[in-house]
Subunit: 530 residues, 2 copies
């Protein structure tokens, strides 16, 4: 997506026409610059920081009054970020950051053309303190804990920023703006705000809507005058990453009703259109990400992401992630584990092949000698020790399947509950957007087969990839997109999921493959196990 | 003058009504505070700094949501300075500073009532670097010079601020705002801006209009979130001290035309009313301040500030400054020198008694044995060695009088030139405001007698004292006064004094006592020396 940063972005490079001072025009240097900026920006207020004011006179003289000014807008005022020699014609850059609790993705962008220049992703260094967010929240309340958590984040970001800019032969001060989207806790840790209240009744963040922050306040190694835009949170359990995701999906601009779902440990769901938006979040459990299965692991080379079982021969065709991506057949990489999308495929194929029944239990007759007993639990051998990349057989236990079914049932129940709340039936859904890197690997056909998502035409499902990063990028480039971020936040109604009797009834009904009410999944083939 | 700070000041203390959060109202703490502030301030934008946001949650809980918020307005937005426990009911304070090149005056004010609480004046610590401003400008261009000059100023101010607040039993963080008025160079040195361009053609300051600055940017020991208002300059030779002076005089609100004159080394003159203002500044020479006379010195105990000569007996009655102020007669303090106002009195009385002629030359016959020859120049013994506090005779030389006459002629010429430029005759002047501590000691009758100021009814002359400090105080307290400061600055036309033939002709004509054109001074008695 191209931006129109030059004409209507909120971070701009402008070149005011300045005449050198003379005895007949002895306007002060900073006032002269401000006057020029007001004219070119057609605005009444331009603010120049004291720290910048000091460098204006010598710079203007050195550059013979050929100045490029980098400015940003907040409310009705423009603020000077920095000035450079207009004759250099250097690029001016920005950063969009997806501030994930496990993975951070940093995108370097050209703020003049809106182009992506480069991108890097890396583990959140706070994993050293705790992989889960609650451990970090507790750590933050310790003496010095909060600043340690913030410090390790900023330090790591600064290393990556340095590497990204050096690769382009650019200085870090060429980065004139940054946009950040993360969940509420990560946003707090990034800003050095205590997340204590987030996980305790009544679940109060320090702040949901924070104004622009100067990069120097955060110690970020970009231009010290660069503004940092932080995507606003709806509340403790619905963060700026999802608001950015809605922006990236465009569902807030469409007349038709869409779903936006981010699948993870938490299932985060938004339904709505340009008139209204409702959101909720609920624990779906880590099973959907493959995180808890015996053979489960995060996506990476050798990890199973596609499974096809011949419904007649019950022969397994296993796809693994290659160094360069995915394949459909058995690749060079021997399988070492399974990721979430592979697990959903596997469960769907086992059901279609009649190897598990509608309760998700192994069907002995169909599984044959693939079924083994280990530690008192039945396991299905997915990959034999000989074919495995680990030297051991890769197996799926009954417990793994039970966990997956609880998770998919939770997801389907959340979708049903929010749709019921707004009195919308699934057939009225024009688009079902799936967000997140993990979500982009899920085969909607398999997810429908196990009854995780509604049985809608496959073209309804659209995988959007990293919407948090994408939304952060859009908000960095465009004034309207930035405003939309806050409009979405204010427009959204957050549905507090009450785990009441009705919810539990829906959940129980969804704990079957695909569902107790088969009429909800007319396209799902019924395997031998039914 | 009372302010109405509580109702319409730009720095305010407000107490938003906040309800504690609950599961049914889980607005984030900072958002909750902002919402409350928007309501009580009836505004759309309230900005909370990241550094303050972090302390909001624990403070609100500790104070059970009874919060006093200190806020300031800039453009259409309000900014949070700090929060305190509303139940404490502590005073909230402000500082007005007259940033003189020789003397600094700091006034502590109650921002709620507008009352002056205390005041202190002290020498500018930069005098150590150089008594005159040019030496400091040169020093500022040396390596580290600028930050040294700024540092000594800030350090000294911080000491004085500490002493002022401790005397009141208050903490320095109770100071929620500050307002500063100084000349252009002093303003630059206070802000750490290089004054290099001020004294070099084409005489360009770094900045004339600077927005509010946070005290922490300057290292001032007041509340770190307190805004610092700096009175704007017109240009290199017409600074914020004079703009503040115009505000304090009120001439910018009157329909009648007034003069405002600040007498010093530079004669700074403003003429105008609520419709228009014209200003100019010119070198009057240090003679008017008594600075260069042999017996000249700054006002202080034992310094002559009043002289009366009996026109018949030619007996001298000498008034000196006592420890507690001025007297009319000969006090306990023996005279040690003469200050500017004393010198003007002395010259006027010498003229009236016929002891100097209209060219200012000693009239031997009238001076008698008071006239002595020293170092080839004629001197008049004002105080004999026996009566003097120094053990030596205090004398006035012909050179001293010549200097005084040049200075008074320069002053009168500047007044004439600016009045001619706007085509106003002196008789149209309703008020002639005299600004400055030095100006307040001048006897208008004596100044008229020597032809330094126009021969207007004495009630036209109004001594205003420290208008720079007074104006800074007004701008600190009131929104309208603050706006007026910038309106005055934008409204004023600066008259560049061209020392051309016409000016020189006027100057030559004014180099007589009172003037070559005696009809300009009808009330001046002609002494024997005429």
């Amino acid at each position: 997506m191209k931006n129109n940063g030059k004409s209507n972005g909120w971070i701009r490079k402008v070149s005011p026409a300045l005449k050198p001072p003379s005895l007949s025009d002895n306007t002060a240097d900073v006032d002269r610059l401000i006057k020029g900026l007001k004219k070119v920006l057609d605005t009444k207020e331009v603010h120049v920081d004291l720290s910048l004011a000091g460098k204006v006179p010598s710079s203007l003289r050195r550059w013979e009054y050929h100045v490029s000014a980098f400015v940003y807008q907040e409310h009705d005022s423009w603020h000077l970020i920095d000035i450079k020699d207009a004759r250099d014609g250097e690029k001016f850059l920005g950063l969009a950051l997806d501030l994930g609790s496990s993975t951070l993705v940093l995108r370097l962008m050209d703020l003049e053309t809106g182009e992506r220049i480069d991108e890097t992703s890396f583990h959140n260094p706070q994993i050293e303190i705790g992989a889960d967010i609650l451990t970090r929240i507790h750590f933050a309340t310790r003496e010095g804990g909060l600043s340690r958590l913030q410090g390790m984040l900023i330090d790591r970001l600064n290393e990556e920023i340095k590497a990204l800019t050096q690769k382009q032969g650019m200085g870090q001060t060429s980065i004139m703006g940054m946009s950040v989207a993360g969940n509420t806790t990560m946003t707090h840790l990034f800003l050095g705000l205590n997340p204590y209240g987030i996980c305790r009744e009544p679940y109060i963040p320090v702040v949901n809507r924070i104004g622009l922050i100067l990069s120097r306040e955060l110690g970020l190694a970009v231009n010290p005058g660069a503004p940092v835009l932080v995507a606003p949170n709806v509340g403790s359990y619905f963060g700026g990453d999802l608001i950015a995701g809605i922006l990236a999906s465009g569902m807030n601009r469409q007349s038709e009703i869409s779903f936006l779902v981010d699948v993870g440990t938490n299932a985060e769901v938004v339904i709505g259109n340009r008139e209204w938006l409702m959101a909720c979040a609920g624990a779906a459990g880590p099973a959907l990400e493959g995180g808890v299965a015996d053979m489960g692991m995060m996506a990476g080379p050798g990890v199973i992401d596609r499974v096809v079982i011949d419904p007649v021969t019950r022969e397994f065709r296993i796809g693994t992630i290659q160094d360069r991506g995915h394949t459909d057949g058995l690749g060079d990489e021997r399988p070492v584990g399974i990721c979430g999308s592979g697990l959903i495929d596997l469960a769907a194929q086992l059901f279609v092949a009649g190897m598990i029944d509608l309760r998700g239990k192994f069907v002995e007759a169909a599984c044959g000698d693939r079924l083994v007993e280990m530690d008192g639990t039945r396991h299905l051998v997915v990959v034999s020790a000989e074919d495995s990349g680990t030297g051991h057989a890769l197996t799926l236990s009954q417990t793994d399947i039970d966990g997956l079914i609880r998770s998919k049932a939770a997801m389907y129940t959340i979708l049903t509950t929010i749709a019921n709340t707004v009195n919308i039936s699934f057939t009225q859904i024009a688009k079902f957007y799936v967000a997140g890197t993990f979500g982009s690997y899920i085969d909607p056909r398999s997810a429908i087969t196990i009854g995780m998502i509604p049985d809608l035409p496959l073209e309804t499902y659209v995988s959007l990839g990293n919407t948090s990063l994408e939304g952060a990028g859009l908000a960095l480039l465009g004034t309207e997109a930035r405003e939309a971020l806050f409009q979405i936040r204010d427009q959204i109604t957050y549905l507090e999921l009450n785990v009441n009797q009705e919810f539990m009834n829906l959940f129980s009904a969804a704990k079957f493959i695909p569902h107790t009410d088969r009429s909800l999944f007319p396209t799902v083939a019924i395997g031998d196990g039914s």
